[in-house]
């Protein structure tokens, strides 16, 4: 499964909800405000720091750049929209809106 999360973890529990349900080996893709989750040293960094132990986690590069985010959890994979498309080809997807 591919799980997409588009809301910031500081204000919205979608990422936590997603991580509670996602099975080991599922892929997580963060887009839009969801990419705020991958910054290090925040009150919510541990969500992704734990998540990368069970999942491959991607963040959309254009969304990271839009938001000026550069100091990221190191295991995060930076993804283009093309990579997003490839992931959708490989997995059915659930959007955690």
């Amino acid at each position: 499964m591919l799980h997409t999360v588009n809301k910031s973890p500081f204000q919205n529990s979608s990422l936590e909800n997603c991580l509670r349900v996602a099975q080991q080996g599922d892929v997580i893709l963060l887009l839009e405000d969801g990419v705020y989750a991958v910054s290090v040293g925040t009150a919510k960094s541990s969500l992704i720091e734990q998540a990368v132990k069970r999942h491959t986690v991607y963040a959309i590069e254009a969304d990271l750049k839009a938001r000026g985010l550069a100091n990221l959890v190191k295991e995060i994979r930076i993804a283009s929209y093309g990579d997003f498309v490839d992931l959708v080809e490989q997995h059915p997807v659930h959007a955690w809106l």
């Binding site: 499964m1 979608s14 997807v93 659930h94 959007a95 809106l97």
Partner: protein, 133 residues
């Protein structure tokens, strides 16, 4: 009537009334039930609040969707599930959630089936497509 079409799931994760997503997701469920698809519906996270007993929107001047939810089974939407943990987190007893129909023979109320998150995850993984609200 056995569904022979592709497995399609609708997930409802937002609270009712504060936004229209629950109501408009039910309209999707009704239409999808008339098509050849193996439809299942999952209420989780704040979506379980759509199943809270005693909802009455008249004071808001909003029509609401509660009557529609009560007719899901009539409309052949029978695979309806609710996440156990989400109910528990919101202090909604499992046997208090609203009914979505009545058994044809016994008149017994039919409620969404309570499932653990792991079961819901497994159901999601088996779908052809998931429509997320």
């Amino acid at each position: 009537m056995a569904a022979t079409g592709k497995k399609v799931m609708v997930t409802v994760r937002k609270a009712p009334h504060g936004s229209i997503y629950v109501q408009e997701s039910i309209e999707v469920m009704f239409i999808f039930a008339t098509y050849d698809m193996d439809l299942s519906v999952v209420f989780l996270d704040d979506g379980v609040l759509a199943l809270h007993p005693g909802q009455d929107t008249r004071g808001l001047g909003i029509k609401g969707f509660m009557a529609s939810l009560g007719a899901l089974v009539d409309w052949e939407v029978t695979k309806v599930y609710v996440d156990r943990q989400s109910l528990k987190d919101r202090n909604i007893p499992e046997n208090a959630i609203i009914t979505i129909g009545k058994d044809e023979e016994t008149d017994a109320p039919i409620r969404p089936q309570v499932r653990d998150s792991a079961e819901i995850a497994a159901m999601m993984a088996a779908q052809h497509s998931i429509v997320s609200f």
